[in-house]
Structure formats: structure tokens, C-alpha cells
Amino acid sequence: MIEAAGLTVDMGAGQAVREASFVIAPGDRIGIVGESGCGKTMLGLALMGMVPDAGRVSGSLTIDGTQMVGAGEAIWQKLRARRVAMIFQEPMAALNPIKRVGETVMEPMMVHLGLGRDAARARALELFREVGIPDPEARLRQFPHEISGGQRQRVLIALALACDPGVLIADEPTTALDANVALRVTQLLVGLAERRTMGLVFISHDLAAVARATERVMVMYGGDIVERGATEEVLAQPRHPYTRGLLSARPSPGNMRATGGRRGRLPTIPGSVPPLAELAPGCRFAGRCPVELDMCRGERPPQRGTMICHRSEEGA
């Protein structure tokens, strides 16, 4: 169980995450979406106590009741892998290249759970089966460079599950994979979360994957959670101007026609995510927002139901 209240990560140049509040209960599947540089990964790292040295974390973050803001590295080390585990985007780069993947998966069980080599090997084998790695006995003895990208991501998932964490944070777990493999990895993560009643935080800019993987979603922009709600509702009826932009930038038969533009050009959100230091003090989306008001740059937008925006719903 993770509870964040007003969780803020200040990188010095600006706030990469601003006053995020949410609860992740066992079995919850939550998506975090947004463009690159929106603070999604930083929020994930904050939940692992792995914010870069320059970052200051404030607000409140409790994991299974323990306040983790201000907690030392030693306390975090006890929680990582056992309570919260994280997998990362690049499965090739995320595995130690000179260790057999079996050894990699066995290591946390031997270190944290005190298992002997044989017991750890047996459990690694079980985990490999659970994450759908074919011919697991042979795989245990292979090195990362000997297996495919999809298999490597499954190995990383097995590694993350090694100490049976309550919450799994998956940071762009399917981005580096091709579409078919991505789909199967997404389904695997959903299945694991359900079977193990494990919380799943699915960070992605792939809205289709988020739609498949999660029940609730948080849309991030410039470190703010600008909109949140049931995944289906948010994706079907986006309310925040940023979410609308994000959704309309998604290629689909509908919006290709809707643009009516020459050669079916996709609509885009004008501009790009500004660097932290250049974010407006008020609404982070000011400057790129199509329905911006005079007050947006200077004043923080209020929470209006499921979104934070100066515009009331009708006007947005």
C-alpha cells in the first residue's frame, strides 16, 4: 500500500513532480501517461527512493504505513524489491551483461530472503515459468546477449517479482519492444497483478497499452497530475486540454479523417514540454494550451473534479 500526499520532487532547476497525491492499494492497476519530460519517471523513482542526488523530495509518502520522505538509504534498501520493485524501459541495458540471467534473478532471493543457491534456483525456475519464458531451465544459464528483447523484459519482470513485492512499477515496459511482444508483456503484467493482488504502476506514453493494462490513470504534465480517473472514462472523454491534445495526437482512423488535412496529417500539441526551469509558475500547460486564459500562467489552477484547470468543464 502506497500513499502519497503532496509529494514533490524539486530538482533545483524546478519541480519535476509537484504535489502529487494518490493511493495505490494491493491489486490496483494505475497508469501514468504523458509526454517525455513530464515527470512520470521521476515520480516512479520517487516511489523507489531513487531520485537523483540533486533532487529534494518533500510532502508525504508512506509505504505500508512507514513515512519514507526523509528516510535514509538503509531504510529504502529494506523496502526495495520486497515491498516496491521497478522495471525499466531498456531491457537490454537493464540486465548485468556478464551475469547469467538465472544468477541475476537468484541474487535478490539469496541476499534478501536468505535462500540457499538450490532454493533460489528452484524459485527462479518457477518465476521464469510464471512470466512465460519458454525452456526456462536452459534460459537460466544464458547471458542477456543470448536472448531476445521480449525475453529479457520477462527476465526483468521475474527479477522484480523475486521478493514478492506489493507494488510493481513498470516504467515504459513495452516501449522498446515491437508491437506483438509489447502486447504480450502488457497482458503478462496485468495477469501477474491480478493473480498476486499486486499493485501495478504502469508508466507509458502509449495510450493503447495503458488502456489495456490499467483501471485508473493519472495524466501528468510538467510535474502536475493534471487529470485522473477511471482509465476508460479519461480516454473516452478527456476533460483537461492536455489530455485532449494527447488523445487527438494518437493515430486512429477517426482522427485522421477528422483533421481533413492534406495527406491525413496527425494533429499535434503545438510546441514541446519546456525544461523544468522554464515552466510557468501557474498552470504548467500554459503556453501550449489552446484554451488558455489570462490567469493561467500566474495562478495555480484549482482541482475541478478529476482535473486541475482554470477552465470550468463547459469552457474547456
Binding site: 529504502w76 521497478m86 525499466f88 541495458a93 540486465l95 548485468n96 551483461p97
Partner: protein, 314 residues
């Protein structure tokens, strides 16, 4: 893998062969009459002719080379002109001391350098890092012979903990080891200064990589991440430099053995050059080259042991 070993062994032998040609050519084809340089300018023509005959200098170059190499393969390097005993005997007497010195120097170098380099990387940008880098800069700048003299002044002359030089022979093991401590330290300090820097930068490089983040995300202690994940992956450049440094250590014994008055190969080559003792110099240069080539061969094998990806490629 088998193919790699085969190829590497062939190139090992070919390198040694090439070295032998160069060594032989430098010693024998370059101008200057060995007989004249041995006997001196006022030697009679008869004496010179006799010595040339004795040294085999009248034979064609190729047959002299083949003769030399055939002997060398069997451990026969001819008779030393200044000591008047077989060169192989001279070498056999002195080899253990030089090899012990080089190996102990290398061991101390590696331990010191890896400990300091990893410590510096772990404290990147902090005071410990700056301190270690400052010391290593100092170590690189200081010549080994000067450091040796300082060590002797402090530990032998002032504190009287260790002998200032000389070697009692292996029959007194404790005294023998004591007399090798200062030379070992003198050899190792300079080399470890270089290696510590290599270790630090290699470790820093690895620490930025994704799989180190994975290891941290698994809740492993900083110590475990450093020694079990960072260091093994940082070893390739370290081992490369260690191979080169072993060569530098072996040649470094020439200076150190002279400073500490140790009867090893380094002193022997120095004396032989001074005495224009051609067969001895030739044999020793060949031997030093063989040690260096062997060290590089071992380094190549270590690469394979460290990184399984290389095994797949080779």
C-alpha cells in the same frame, strides 16, 4: 573459443619470433665490433681475431641467428663474456628475485589501486575523491627512483624498520621478505597511482549504466552494488592496464634493483650492458620481451573469463 585460443597462441609464438629477430639484429647487425669493445682499443689484431672466432662472429648472420635461436629454445644462451659462466645459470640464479619483486609489486598495485579507485568512484565529487585523485596525481608525477630514496631515508635510515638495501638470499626467508618490502612499495606506489585513476574512471562509467540502476532497485547495499556489479563490469580496462603495467614493473626492476642493490635480472642487465656482455644482454632483452608478451597473452585470456560477450564474438 577454441579457434580464438589457437589464433592467439599462433600470434604469441610469431610475436616472440619477431622480437627475437629484432633483438638479434640490434645486437649483431648494428655497426661496432663486439670483440673490439670487449678487448679495448689497444688489443692486438691476433687477439681480436681469436675472440671473433670464439664468439662465432665470422659466420654468416643467418647461421648465427639460427644457432642462437636453437640454443635459446633449449635454454642455452651461450657463455657470459664478463662472468665466464653460462648465461642460463646467471638467469636461473636471479630470476626468482626479480619475478617475486614484479609479482608482489603487481599484487600490491592491484589491491591498492582497486581499493582507492573504487573508493574514489563511490565518493565521486566529494572530498575523498579529490584526496585520492590528488595523491594519485602526485604518485604519477614522482619518479620511482626518487621515491625509493625517500622510502629508504624514512624507513631504513630514520626509523630503522627495514634494511636500506641488499639481499640476504632465500635461505633466510624472513630477512629476504623484509628486504623486498621497500622495493615492492617503491615499484607499486607509482603504478597504483596510474591504475587507481583507470579504476575510478572505469567504475564511474559503469555506475551510470542501466543495470546498475536495476541492482540498486533490487535493494542491494551500496557496497554490494559496487563490488558485485560495478567492479566486475569495470574490469576490462583495468586488466588491460594491468597487462601493460606488468611490463612496466618488470622493466622498472632495472632501476629499483640498482637503487636497492638487489641481485636480480635488472641489476644483471645493467651490469651486462656496462660490461658489453653481448650474449647476456641479448638473452635478457629476449627474456624481458617474452615476459611482456606472455603477460599480454594472459590478459587476453582474462578478457574471455571476464566478459562472456567476447567469448560469443571470438
Amino acid at each position: 573459443m577454441g579457434y580464438f585460443l589457437f589464433r592467439r597462441t599462433i600470434s604469441f609464438v610469431l610475436t616472440l619470433l619477431a622480437v627475437s629477430v629484432v633483438v638479434f639484429a640490434v645486437m649483431n647487425i648494428l655497426p661496432g665490433d663486439p670483440a673490439l669493445s670487449i678487448l679495448g682499443l689497444d688489443a692486438t689484431e691476433d687477439a681480436l681475431a681469436a675472440l671473433r672466432e670464439e664468439l662465432g662472429l665470422n659466420e654468416p648472420v643467418l647461421s648465427r641467428y639460427l644457432h642462437w635461436i636453437a640454443g635459446a629454445v633449449q635454454g642455452d644462451f651461450g657463455i657470459s663474456q664478463s662472468f665466464r659462466v653460462p648465461v642460463s645459470e646467471l638467469i636461473a640464479e636471479r630470476l626468482p628475485l626479480t619475478v617475486s619483486l614484479a609479482i608482489s609489486g603487481m599484487v600490491v598495485t592491484v589491491i591498492l589501486a582497486v581499493a582507492l579507485g573504487v573508493a574514489a568512484a563511490a565518493n565521486h565529487g566529494k572530498a575523498g575523491d579529490w584526496g585520492i585523485m590528488f595523491l594519485s596525481q602526485l604518485g604519477i608525477a614522482v619518479p620511482a627512483f626518487w621515491l625509493s630514496i625517500l622510502l629508504v631515508l624514512l624507513f631504513a635510515v630514520k626509523l630503522r624498520w627495514l634494511p636500506p638495501g641488499g639481499f640476504p638470499g632465500w635461505s633466510e626467508p624472513a630477512a629476504a621478505v623484509r628486504s623486498l618490502i621497500l622495493p615492492t612499495v617503491a615499484l607499486a606506489l607509482v603504478q597504483s597511482a596510474v591504475l587507481a585513476r583507470v579504476t575510478r574512471s572505469s567504475a564511474l562509467e559503469v555506475m551510470r549504466l542501466d543495470y546498475i540502476r536495476t541492482a540498486r532497485a533490487m535493494g542491494f547495499s551500496r557496497r554490494r552494488v559496487l563490488w558485485r556489479h560495478v567492479l566486475p563490469n569495470a574490469l576490462i580496462p583495468i586488466v588491460t592496464i594491468v597487462g601493460l603495467q606488468f611490463a612496466a614493473l618488470v622493466t622498472g626492476t632495472i632501476v629499483i634493483e640498482n637503487v636497492f642493490y638487489l641481485p636480480g635480472l635488472g641489476r644483471l642487465i645493467f651490469q651486462s650492458i656496462a660490461n658489453r656482455d653481448l650474449p647476456t644482454v641479448q638473452a635478457l632483452v629476449m627474456l624481458f620481451a617474452a615476459i611482456v608478451v606472455t603477460a599480454n597473452f594472459i590478459v587476453d585470456l582474462l578478457y574471455l573469463a571476464i566478459d562472456p560477450r567476447l567469448k560469443a564474438r571470438s
